[in-house]
């Protein structure tokens, strides 16, 4: 069997296993392992599994995921998070689809603390999903706003993928961070605009609840309820931007502050702790098993040299600049629908980066394009980590809810990519004018 045939067979098999209802992580692991067996034999091939499992599981990059989910779990199960939501619900009650809009902006704010989209979706989702469900919001609307809103976690700094991109390509992480801010805000506004439009057209999807109305006095009173969480955000953001903690450490400090808050309100019970543990474990274990086994599959794809052949093909077409980029992004989009992208990015970047920058595209700009691509991948089935995270928080979600809920956001992200192609300054202006010196 030729190498490209092997790649095709494995991807085909992966879809068969998904369809049969094998756990996503296990399906990825099986195809990865078969690829290794075929290429390298039992002893050597399977040695890769141990190496990849260990290096991913013990990677300091991923440590913020359990910590942020834990923080959110404490806020939720101690009841502190609910106070926040009551307040927010009152303030945004004038907006159509107000709570979904609030979720998107909460994600955007939390994205300034967290470098991970999974953590962002899980943290905000854990608190907001029960509230939106209680108020009768339509499932696709809830699902989409959180899955997509969560992806802002890697576009608005800090960002784990930007760190990986910066280290791999020797580009400034500070510049990447600055370049993500404007596109991040634009994307959040696009998402919010879509939700408002949707709620105007289909008011039943986002019912307005009497309890959320209330007068000026209620709105003022609710400031008191927001205070604890606002304090938490100020402490975490403040300690990060003053350099007391690194972005990874911010997650631990956030957890500690939420524990202290819960204790201060006399709500830090064994039950609260246990429920927070369970939320943490379920998200972390599910997500990390997928990341680990997807990395093994990506390793196989790297070994068969697929990326080089694929992108060589695109370059070989000899297209004009815009058509080349469109063709390239189309290929990436197909990959986004098929695979787990972070591990794919790690294997394709060394080939893709010299190629793209060689054609005169800006390295920082391309970093933002890659992050947007990762964001799309996070909400495209069958393997989209944010889909899985929200699915876990919303038992009984159907494939229809997922597709209907997230497709509009994919369209918006692709639109932003096109916009960035036409106006690269959207990303590049800020780093050029704010970077130190």
């Amino acid at each position: 069997m030729s190498e490209s045939a092997l790649g095709g067979v494995l991807i085909g098999l992966m879809f068969v296993l998904f369809a049969a209802g094998v756990e996503v992580s296990i399906a990825l692991g099986i195809v990865g392992m078969l690829g290794l067996l075929w290429l390298k034999g039992f002893t050597i091939g399977l040695g890769v599994v141990g190496s990849i499992a260990w290096s991913n599981a013990s990677s300091f990059s991923f440590i913020a995921v359990p910590l942020f989910v834990f923080m959110s779990g404490i806020l939720l199960h101690s009841g502190i998070g609910k106070g926040l939501y009551t307040a927010v619900a009152r303030w945004v009650s004038f907006l159509p689809g107000g709570l979904a809009v609030a979720s998107i902006f909460s994600c955007a704010i939390f994205a300034a603390i967290s470098g991970s989209s999974v953590a962002t979706a899980a943290t905000i989702g854990l608190i907001s999903i029960p509230e939106m469900e209680r108020r009768g919001y339509a499932r696709p609307l809830i699902f989409g706003s959180l899955a997509a809103g969560g992806t802002l976690g890697i576009l608005i700094p800090p960002s784990i993928p930007m760190i990986i991109y910066g280290v791999m390509t020797e580009t400034s992480i500070g510049h990447l961070y600055a370049a993500g801010i404007v596109p991040g805000v634009v994307l959040a506004l696009l998402f919010a605009g879509f939700v408002i439009g949707y709620a105007v057209l289909w008011p039943d999807a986002a019912p307005r609840v009497a309890e959320d109305r209330g007068g000026v006095l209620d709105k003022l009173r609710s400031i008191y309820e927001v205070a604890p969480v606002a304090l938490l955000i100020v402490v975490v953001l403040g300690s990060m931007y003053t350099g007391i903690v690194t972005p990874t450490e911010a997650a631990a400090v956030g957890s500690l502050v939420s524990l202290l808050l819960a204790a201060a309100f006399r709500r830090l019970t064994w039950r609260t702790l246990r429920d927070a543990f369970q939320a943490t474990i379920r998200t972390t274990s599910m997500v990390m098993l997928i990341i680990i086994f997807a990395s093994i599959f990506s390793h196989v794809i790297a070994l068969i040299g697929a990326p080089k052949a694929l992108f060589g093909l695109v370059v070989g077409l000899g297209l004009p600049r815009w058509a080349f980029f469109a063709a390239l992004f189309a290929v990436l989009l197909v990959i986004a629908y098929a695979l787990e992208e972070l591990s794919v990015m790690i294997i394709i970047l060394p080939i893709l980066f010299p190629l793209v920058t060689g054609l005169g595209f800006d390295p920082i700009w391309f970093g933002i394009i890659m992050v947007l691509w990762l964001e799309i991948g996070l909400i495209t089935p069958p393997v989209g980590l944010n889909l899985f995270v929200i699915q876990t928080l919303m038992p009984g979600t159907t494939a229809r809810d997922i597709t209907r809920g997230t497709t509009p956001y994919v369209v918006l992200m692709v639109a932003l990519v096109a916009l960035l192609f036409v106006f690269p300054e959207l990303a590049l202006w800020l780093p050029r004018h704010t970077a130190p010196r």
């Binding site: 580009t171 040299g305 060394p350 010299p354 010196r437």
Partner: protein, 315 residues
């Protein structure tokens, strides 16, 4: 005709270096030459930027034969093969040239040690010198005191501690913002990172303490994989190494990168700090403590390695 139809032999070569870094460029040139000389019967796939294996997994991967070729980087010598790194001991060498001179003399020693682990040494290379970026100048041994310094391994942690600084463990990817926000006062890493990683924006000073004159990188093959390679292809690989002049080119590139970085720093608005010779001597004496720790860990093998290294350096 039957031979021409056969599937090409594919070997993998994972490396830590970024796609545009000189190591990657040179390895790609080697791969191209091998492909050409073998008439397409052998292909070497270079995997830069730790894309195949994360850095710490590189040595185990080539030891186990999970990759046919591999780069053993001195910074990751924490356990297996620890004794091949006497030249990387703190303040052992003071320039890439000095490192080169000693390293090439140690070839028989390296070859023997690698062979004992089932690896075939193909070529000896280096990364540019290890220095310190800092937000305040570190000119004397006294300046080290109380500084929070980002380190990358046990040896660099030992130097920092012995000199009175407080070692901090921070991911390479978070070093930029840690310097920018003053989470740390300084970071030990290669001076050549100043420009591509934009460290010059967040750290004003580059202190040339020459913690290591260079950091070695050995290109090795897994011996079993090598033995399984047809004789004529073995010949092709060896010839390609010679024809591309890989080893010499690698050293020249490392020296050039080091010099270029140094010249470029003032243009980028950085201040180059050259501590007085006697301060570096003082630091070297203090850092002997780190040598002792290394000697304890490597036993008789390390003792012999250190003797050979000192002899090669003419000390």
């Amino acid at each position: 005709p039957a031979g021409a139809q056969a599937k090409p032999v594919v070997w993998n070569l994972p490396t830590v270096a970024a796609p545009s870094y000189f190591h990657t460029v040179n390895y790609n040139a080697l791969a191209a030459r091998v492909k050409e000389k073998s008439g397409g019967r052998m292909e070497i796939r270079v995997h830069p930027a730790s894309s195949l294996y994360p850095s710490a997994e590189l040595i185990p991967a080539v030891l186990d034969g999970r990759t046919e070729l591999g780069t053993v980087l001195a910074s990751y010598l924490t356990d297996v093969l620890l004794e091949i790194g006497p030249l990387e001991l703190p303040f052992m060498t003071g320039s890439v040239e000095e490192h080169k001179k000693a390293a090439l003399q140690l070839r028989p020693f390296y070859t023997e040690r690698f062979a004992r682990q089932g690896l075939k040494l193909l070529s000896i290379h280096a990364w540019p010198s290890q220095q310190i970026f800092s937000t305040v100048p570190i000119r004397s041994v006294a300046d080290w005191k109380g500084k929070k310094i980002r380190v990358y391994g046990a040896d660099s942690a030992n130097i920092a501690r012995l000199l009175g600084a407080a070692p901090v463990n921070i991911n390479f990817g978070e070093v930029y913002s840690a310097l920018e926000k003053r989470t740390v006062d300084g970071a030990m890493t290669s001076a050549t990172n100043a420009e591509p990683m934009k460290f010059f924006e967040v750290a004003k000073y580059l202190d040339y303490w020459y913690l290591a004159g260079a950091a070695m990188e050995w290109l090795v093959a897994n011996q079993k994989a090598w033995d399984a390679l047809p004789k004529d292809l073995q010949h092709v690989v060896l010839e390609a190494l010679k024809e591309t002049n890989l080893e010499e080119k690698e050293w020249q590139d490392a020296i050039a990168a080091d010099e270029r970085a140094r010249k470029r720093l003032p243009e980028l608005g950085m201040t180059v700090v050259d501590p007085p010779r006697e301060e570096i001597e003082k630091a070297r004496r203090i850092a002997q403590g780190a040598w002792d720790i290394w000697l304890q860990r490597t036993g008789a093998d390390g003792k012999r390695a250190l003797e050979l290294a000192l002899k090669a350096l003419g000390r």
